[in-house]
Assembly symmetry: C2
Homo-oligomer: 325 residues x 2
């Protein structure tokens, strides 16, 4: 979609020219490193797209878009320390390339820099409102990350808790990006809230699909071998829903696969997949995903923006769910 | 000083009643823990004192005072991870009591909560200005912490760099607290800036005195055995100034004490102290400290506030330097 790519390029240019400190080098080099690893810039792009629904000139929203992207990258740096992840986007994570102390501190300064950019919004009267949305969201993202870490230790996670966790850990930031973009563009509070709900529901749908594709995706299309979540014993929607629906015998079988550390990888993936299939988990996941997608799309009705621009959002959502963005 | 103690009590009460999340417990328990360890609440107290210079009712400044205290405690949590410190105020540090991941994440949420409190200021028009001061300061504190970590690895740290490091790592937050308090109280920009400079210079004077007392302080008055910095090979003002002034022979002698890991503690302290004394370092440190104190006190001339209130600030500064606050 042409509009999205234009926005993406404009944002990349803005980000490249963004000034932040250079001294001490050990503080700012990790910041430049993580921001240079690229990625789709999904969150700033949707922020700018929502701004554009109400105002063709996206430049006033750029500081907020940068704030959201820098914040997102801060969460990656600190999450990678907590998860002991060696790689991010195929490159060494910040704490591997530099060290853990530098990753903690450069993450901290990125969180502050996110506010710094937000406070550069030209429209001063928007600053308190936008800062409050951003702050509430940042708190929720921390809560989601803690829930995710807690779930690793717990054996009694419910599907409901899981949905709340993915909402906090990933969806609210997309939702906040959309709401903030709407507000910088001059949307009414009602429209801004609808776009928040659009982003929140779409984010949950995306994460559910992510869980499904990780186990049942076509490796040709999805770009990676399926089964990673199973090997890592991740408590995904598929696993939790299966535990909920399984009879005692099947539940025991599933829990054995997840507690046994001595197994053949292919055999474990096949064993767990066969349980999921028996319980009709793929269709159940797809149904819930479609439900959230539907809730997202509903929000677009009655937006006070030109209908051809609302089409951009629909095309974006469809492209996202087809993994084309 | 009665006024200070009243302010301190009022702030403690406000902090106790301050609401922040409770769920997930693993995120918020460390926050409550570090804030319950107490301390003198120096930064919020000076913020409220500066507010009181211009407005007797300190309640409008409470959210900003809480923001500064929560931010300060965030820095303690993350610094203690980086320094591998087991104790803080005689109790286990957050990463020791909980774990490193929880200390990283609860530190992160405290940084966000600091903004949350700042954004609760009733006077909306102040929010952009006060948030920018706070943000600039938070960036500088991160820079100071990185400089401090860099200095541990470096052998060529200059006295000038050291002074800049302590300014960033500790003084600017005291300075910002004073400036923000002045602004919430209704001070002119000129007065707010004078109070910033008062805090900045006083903070540097305090840190220089801290270095001096750590080595030459009276254990009865100072409450701890002197020599801790020497044992830890800390690059304090005393050490760096001694390296600057020493002849080749004395420099070699000093560097030997600092590189030798196999020594008797008492002997090392005595050896290093005798070099410092030979080079007249205590008097030099005292002179520089007095110079910064003088620069601080100068700022109080011509403040547009009642002279009896300005006396509070003088009494505060004197009490602080006598370690009575």
């Amino acid at each position: 979609m042409q509009t999205l790519h234009q926005i993406q390029s404009a944002f990349e240019k803005y980000l490249r020219e963004l000034s932040f400190g250079s001294d001490p080098d050990n503080l700012y080099r990790p910041v430049r490193y993580i921001l240079s690893l690229g990625g789709k810039r999904l969150r700033p792009v949707v922020l700018l797209l929502c701004h554009k629904l109400y105002d063709d000139d996206i430049s006033p929203a750029m500081p907020a878009a940068a704030a959201i992207e820098v914040f997102h990258n801060f969460t990656l740096v600190h999450d990678d320390i907590m998860d002991e992840a060696p790689l991010r986007r195929g490159k060494p994570t910040v704490h591997h390339k530099f060290d853990t102390n530098k990753a903690i501190l450069s993450g901290d300064v990125m969180l502050v820099l996110a506010y710094d950019y937000l406070l550069r919004l030209q429209n001063q009267t928007l600053i308190p409102t936008v800062s409050r949305i951003f702050t509430q969201t940042a708190i929720e993202v921390c809560e989601g990350q803690q829930m995710d870490m807690d779930f690793e230790e717990r054996t009694n996670v419910s599907v409901e808790e899981y949905l709340r966790m993915i909402e906090l850990k990933t969806s609210v930031l997309v939702a906040a990006a959309m709401k903030i973009g709407a507000l910088t563009g001059g949307a009414s509070d009602a429209d801004a809230q609808k776009l928040y709900e659009f982003g929140r529901n779409l984010g949950i749908a995306f994460q559910l699909q992510d869980d499904l594709l990780d186990t049942f995706g076509d490796p040709e299309k999805f770009g990676k071998q399926p089964g990673g979540d199973i090997i890592q014993n991740k408590k995904t929607y598929l696993f939790l829903k299966a535990l909920e629906l399984a009879d005692d015998h099947t539940r025991t079988e599933l829990l054995e696969w997840y507690s046994n550390t001595d197994f053949d990888e292919e055999e474990k993936i096949a064993g767990v997949k066969s349980i999921f299939t028996r319980l009709d988990i793929p269709a159940q996941t797809k149904r819930l995903q479609t439900e959230f997608e539907g809730k997202a799309m509903e929000q677009l009705n009655g937006l006070d923006a030109p209908s051809e621009k609302i089409e951009w959002l629909k095309a974006f959502a469809e492209g996202l769910m087809k993994r084309e963005f």
